[in-house]
Every structure is written in C-alpha cells, then in structure tokens.
C-alpha cells in the first residue's frame, strides 16, 4: 500500500538520501514520525479535555477531589457528582465524538463529497423518523425505548440507501450513494415533519431531540450501544487501506486487486453502526462529523489510515470542549449541538479561507 500512497520519484529518493545523511532519517520516516507525534499530541489533548470535562460544570472540582472520586470513591458530594453525572457524560462525549469524527471521514471518502456528513446515508433522518414513530404510533415514552427505536431506524434507513445506491451495473458509486442518501433523508424528513405537525406529542420530544445533547437523566441506556460502536470502529479502521486504493478510482482499485463492492459495503456498514450509535444516544450532532474530517485532512493529507484516527480524536476533543463550555457558560441552556456550531463554524470558515484546501 505504501507504494500506492507515497510515490517515490527519483528526485525524492535523492533528497531522501541527503536528508538521511543529515538527520539519520528518510522523508518517509520523518513524515511518519511527524504523524505519530501529532497523534500523540492529539491523544494528550483528549486526555486534557476529559479531565476538564470532569472538573468543570456548575461548580469546579479540584484535582485531588477528582482523584479521590475515581480511585477511592466514598460518598462525598464531589464523588457523587463525578460518579453519577460528569463521568458518564464525559465518557459518552468521548465515544460519540470519536464515532462521529471517524464516520464523517470515512463517508466523505466513500462518497467523495465534502458535503457528506455522517448522517447523509439516511442515518440521522431514519433515527428521527423512528423516534417520532415510537412516540406517536407506539406510545413509547421512556428514553431507552427511544434509543432502541432510533438505532433500528438508523440501520434500516442506511441499509435501504445502500441497496438503492448499489442497484445498477457498477454497484455503489460515490454519486449514486450521495444522491440516494440525500433523497431518502429528505423523504424521511418529510414524513417526520408530517407526523410531528399532526401530533403535538411528537413535536414536544422532537424539537429537543433534534438539537442533540450529551445531557441525560440516566446514562445506563447509553451503554447498550457500546458494542456496536466498538465493532463500527474496528470495521472503520480496517476499511482505511481499501479506501486509499478506492480513492485512485474504481477501475484502478479493481486492477490492484481490490474487492470494490466489499470495501464499499464494509465502509458504509461502519458508518451506519458508528453514526447510528451516536445519533440514537445523543440525537443528531451532525456538524462535528461534517467539519472534523476537513480539519483532519488539512493536517494529515488524504491518507485515510491517518486521516480517520485523527478525525476520531479531533471529534472527541471538539465535542468535549463544546460540552464543557455549554455547561460552564450557560448551565445547559445552550445544548452542546448549538454550542458546538456557534463555536466551531467561525473557526471552520477561517480555516477554509486561510489554508490551501486538500481536495477530496
């Protein structure tokens, strides 16, 4: 795969020889070292964000108390706050942030479309439709029921999109996938709007659900999606070398021995599992999955083996920071989804304007 991703020209190798002499490393090795260092720095940032997310909220908790709560919990007030509220919320943010970042990077690769957010394949609207359906038709009023419906809806919708996008001689192509996803999403959105407008019970839940939030009354139901999230992550990481080859074009990929249909199926499956888990638990926090891959791409370039992990860690950092800011500044009047965009979008626009764009 290295040969494909990093073509070595004669000039390159000449430069590499001189650089090797100078620094004891070739350009490839230096680039790899830079990428590994970046990954380590990002992991440190995730750790810091986690700590900050546990420490700050309505009231700040000092470090020793956090230490106490995690390793020797008794029943002090700060122990209870951390154990019952902040810790689960932070873990939830970590999982969802990683899932959305990874899913976004993967899907933008498979659809070759910078406008692809992880919910493009009908995942978000499928989940929304199922939640509203569960309220208006089946009368489900408890949260874990909504989670189950949302997850099922997300998976079913993306399966339909993939099936429709794959019909035809060439299987699923970037354009048919994107168009099928957008069309089915709009269809489901129309049906959801119809149900919500006809039944105010649906509206009462839906208008809060659609913003997306990490705040929950109880966190236990969130843990049920964890296995799917992990399977999705592994599938996504395994998919990245194949995606690199696919980026050269389907014909070239076939010529290199890639099983194109299988790669597409695995990629879309990973996106559906990851986004489905995230959306089922937190509602649509779409923006993060849309923006993070673009930032990651500006750092790593187009190699998906690096781009996808970077996007995952960046997603976690961004989501946790936004959630903390939402908590500290306004005590949950601004939900995390809103905070995220108000915070992230201007930065994103600045980035898009000031950097040379790495195109898909």
């Amino acid at each position: 795969m290295n040969i494909v991703n990093t073509p070595v020209t004669r000039a390159d190798s000449a430069r590499s020889r001189s650089a090797e002499r100078a620094a004891g490393l070739g350009p490839l090795a230096r680039r790899r070292r830079r990428r590994v260092l970046g990954l380590v720095a990002l992991a440190a940032a995730v750790l810091l964000a986690t700590l900050v997310s546990i420490a700050f909220g309505d009231r700040a908790i000092p470090l020793p108390a956090i230490w106490h709560a995690i390793f020797t919990p008794s029943d002090t007030e700060s122990d209870i706050i951390i154990g019952a509220l902040r810790m689960p919320r932070t873990l939830l943010g970590l999982g969802v942030g990683v899932a959305l970042g990874v899913a976004g990077a993967l899907l933008q690769g498979h659809t070759r479309n910078p406008l692809a957010d992880p919910g493009l394949l009908g995942v978000t609207q499928g989940a929304a439709f199922a939640v509203v359906l569960s309220i208006t038709v089946f009368g489900v009023s408890y949260v874990s029921g909504h989670v189950a419906f949302a997850f099922a809806g997300a998976l079913i919708a993306s399966a339909i999109v993939f099936a429709l996008g794959s019909i035809g001689s060439g299987g699923a192509t970037p354009v048919t996938l994107a168009l099928a996803g957008a069309t089915i999403s709009w269809l489901l959105l129309g049906l959801t709007s119809a149900m919500v407008l006809l039944d105010q019970r649906g509206m009462e839940v839906y208008r809060f659900w659609r913003i997306g939030s990490l705040a929950r009354d109880e966190y236990f139901s969130a843990a049920t999606v964890l296995p799917f999230l992990i399977i999705g992550l592994l599938l996504a990481l395994a998919n990245t070398p194949g995606l690199n080859t696919l980026a050269l074009g389907e014909d070239v990929a076939k010529g290199l021995g890639q099983r194109v249909r299988l790669t597409r199926f695995a990629g879309v499956g990973a996106v559906a599992l990851l986004t489905g888990s995230a959306v089922a638990v937190c509602g649509p926090i779409a923006f993060i999955g849309l923006v993070v891959p673009h930032i990651a791409r500006a750092i790593t370039g187009a190699d998906y083996r690096w781009l996808v992990p970077y996007a995952g860690l960046l997603g976690a950092v961004l989501l946790l920071v936004a959630d903390v800011l939402g908590r500290v500044i306004s005590a949950d009047t601004f939900e995390v989804g809103i905070m995220l965009t108000v915070l992230g979008a201007p930065v994103f626009i600045y980035l898009v304007r000031s950097t040379r764009l790495v195109r898909l």
Binding site: L115, A182, T183, W186, S193, Q200, V352
Partner: protein, 384 residues
C-alpha cells in the same frame, strides 16, 4: 466553440428558434444525446437538443395541467369549463371567489417559487459540481429561517401574527436573512476569485450556524410557537395570495432571464477553469454573478413561501436525467421546479385527513420516489 455558439447578449431563450431566416445545420453528435441542431440568425446562434426541447415542452404542458387541476380540484369542485368561464370573466359568484381569490394566486405563487428554486438549485449544483449543493445546504434558506423564526418567536403566544408583522415583517425578515446569509457565503468564499469547492465548505459553516440558531429559537418559545415556526420551516403555500404574486413575479422576471443568459457559460465552466479561460470566459466574474443571482432567487422564493424543501435539489437532478445531459439543464430545471411544487401543493390541499400539511412535506414525499426511480433506472453514472 464556434462563432455561432458563443454566449450572446440577445435575449432569445435557449430553446426557442428565433424567427427569421434559419440557417439550420443538423449535426449528429453521437447517438447518446440525440441530434443537435444549430440555429443561427445573423450573429445570434443557439444550439437545440431535441431531447431537451421535448422535456421542456412536456414539463411546461404538465405545469399548465397541474395549475389547472390545482384551480379546479378541492373540497369545492369546479369543472374545467367553469374555470375557463371564470378566467374569461364570467362564472358564478362563489366560483369566482374560489378561483380568483384563493386557488389561482396560490397555484401561481407555487409555480413561481418552485421555478425560482429549481433554477437556483441548477446554478448552485453546476458551479460547485456537487449534486448535494442546494440553497438549504449552503445556508441561504437557513439564514432566511433565522429572520422568519425570530419574528414568529417575538410575536409569541399572544395570538396570530397580524398587522404589519404578518403582512410585511415575516417575508421581509426572511428575505433579509436569506440575502445576508448569501452575501456571507459570497464574501467568505471570494478569495481572488470564487472557487466552487471552497464555496461548498463555507456554505456548510454558514448553514450550521444559521440552522442551530433556528433550533435554539425553537426551544425558547412555547410549544405552539414552535409548531407555527415548524410550519414555516417546512414551507407552506396555505397563506399565499395575490399580495405575494406581484413581488415574486417581478423578482423572477428580472432575475430569471439574467440567470438563464448567464447560465450559458455553465456548460463551458464544466470543462475546467483553464479551458473556460482559454475560450474567453471571465471565469471568476461569471461564477460570482451567477452565485449572487442564485442567492437572490432562493431568497425571494423562501421569503414568499418559506423554505420549500427538496425542490432545489431534486428538480435539477430530475431534469438532468430526463434530458440525458452531463450537467443540470437550467431551463428544464426551472420548469420542473414549478411542476414539482404545484403538484405537491395540490396533493397537500386535496389529501384526505382533515389537517392540511405544508407543501414542503409533500415535495419530498412525492419527489423522492420519482428521483429514486430515475436514479435506479439510469444505470450510467451521473455527473455534475
């Protein structure tokens, strides 16, 4: 690019043969796109694709039929003959009321708004070379939404929005919101020229900010206020009357011809910037002007009827597949946008169930299966 095919300033529509001496040359251009005929009068020249002509003609006929059905059908059924009688100045009093005061203006607003959205969508999709780039995704309709929902929330639960706020405030606020978002899109994307890829990414950012402002505004107010805002946000023609028709019609009469003329360079831009420059197109100026025109079209349409979903995405994609061409054809997209909107509103009006749904719900419910059918049927990969 021969002399005859150069974009000209003379306002002859792309698909109507100009009168006078026609020196037509039939040039078979491969079987895939059908035959193409060049028609020239003096220095003015157009190229006609028969398949595109047929599509435009057929959709225009369907549009007329849809408007007629919209005027005739409903809980108070009026026969075609009576409709014609009313339109020519006769008819019973009750029929005149239903046709002239209620149904005709609503159908006209629907057709005009849909046409504007279809055209704007075709321009955005062509310039960004992205089938997903529609005024919603690029943030223009969300900007309009911020303006409108602010007015709705400020009006609060005290009752219907009435008086100046209802007649002027809501459309004006949404028009200003849409134009502001569009100008932001244009301004932030412009960096020594307008690049379609950068525009799309900037649009994502603007849409995200505006959409989340709208979502936040929805949670601020009472649930009935939220429901009213949601109705506006799905796009509704229920309140459309004669007061909207002149504004939309005049705006469209100015903007649409300018856009259609300017859109003739879209075909050249598809070959890439360098080729287009080599062929004498001022690439950045052309793209910039087209984006501004499309922003205005989308803003006017949204101000008149709310952000009617899906039309701007679907009409160009349906038109592209029906015409069998490489990129969204502008004229066919315009007409098909009108068709989709009027048909959706017709179903919204006559559907059983007691509650009338907003048209924006039904554009997707009607249009999505058809677009899916076309997508599945046309097995070759579509390009934009």
């Amino acid at each position: 690019m021969t002399e005859r095919e150069k974009p000209t300033a003379v306002g002859s529509s792309e698909h109507t043969p100009t009168e006078g001496a026609i020196r037509g040359v039939s040039c078979p251009e491969g079987g895939l796109h059908g035959t193409t005929v060049g028609v020239g009068v003096g220095v003015v020249g157009v190229r006609l694709r028969w398949r595109a002509l047929v599509v435009v003609g057929a959709s225009a006929a369907v549009l007329v039929l849809a408007v007629a059905a919209h005027v005739g059908l409903g809980s108070y059924h009026i026969s075609m003959l009576d409709v014609l009688r009313v339109l020519s100045g006769g008819g019973e009093e009750s029929q005149r009321g239903a046709v002239l005061d209620v149904r005709l203006p609503r159908a006209l607003v629907g057709a005009l708004v849909g046409a504007a959205l279809g055209l704007a969508g075709a321009v955005f999709q062509s310039i960004s070379r992205n089938p997903l780039a529609s005024p919603d995704v690029l943030g223009i309709t969300w900007g309009a939404g911020v303006g409108a929902v602010t007015v709705i929330v400020l009006a609060g639960t005290s009752g219907q929005i009435s008086g100046i706020a209802g007649a002027l405030g809501l459309p004006l606020a949404s028009l200003l919101g849409g134009i502001a978002a569009g100008l932001a899109l244009y301004g932030f994307s412009w960096r020594r020229g307008l690049d379609g890829y950068r525009m799309v990414l900037i649009g994502i950012g603007i849409a995200a900010v505006c959409a989340n402002l709208v979502f936040w505004l929805l949670t601020v107010g009472d649930v009935t206020v939220a429901a009213r805002a949601m109705t506006w946000l799905t796009g509704s023609l229920a309140a459309a009357g004669w007061s909207e028709v002149p504004a939309v019609a005049i705006a469209l009469l100015v903007l649409a011809p300018a856009t259609l003329l300017g859109a003739r360079v879209l075909g050249v831009l598809r070959f890439g910037d360098d080729t287009a420059r080599g062929l004498g197109v001022r690439v950045d100026r052309a793209r910039g002007l087209l984006v501004l025109l499309a922003v205005l079209l989308a803003s006017v349409a949204t101000a008149a009827a709310g952000p009617i979903a899906f039309v701007a995405l679907a009409a160009p994609q349906i038109a592209l597949r029906l015409c069998g061409v490489a990129g969204p054809p502008v004229v066919a997209s315009t007409v098909l946008g009108g068709v989709l909107t009027v048909l959706a509103d017709l179903v919204a009006r006559i559907a059983p169930g007691g509650v009338e749904l907003p048209v924006g719900v039904l554009t997707a419910v009607l249009g999505a299966p058809y677009l899916m059918y076309l997508l599945v049927r046309s097995r070759r990969e579509a390009r934009v």
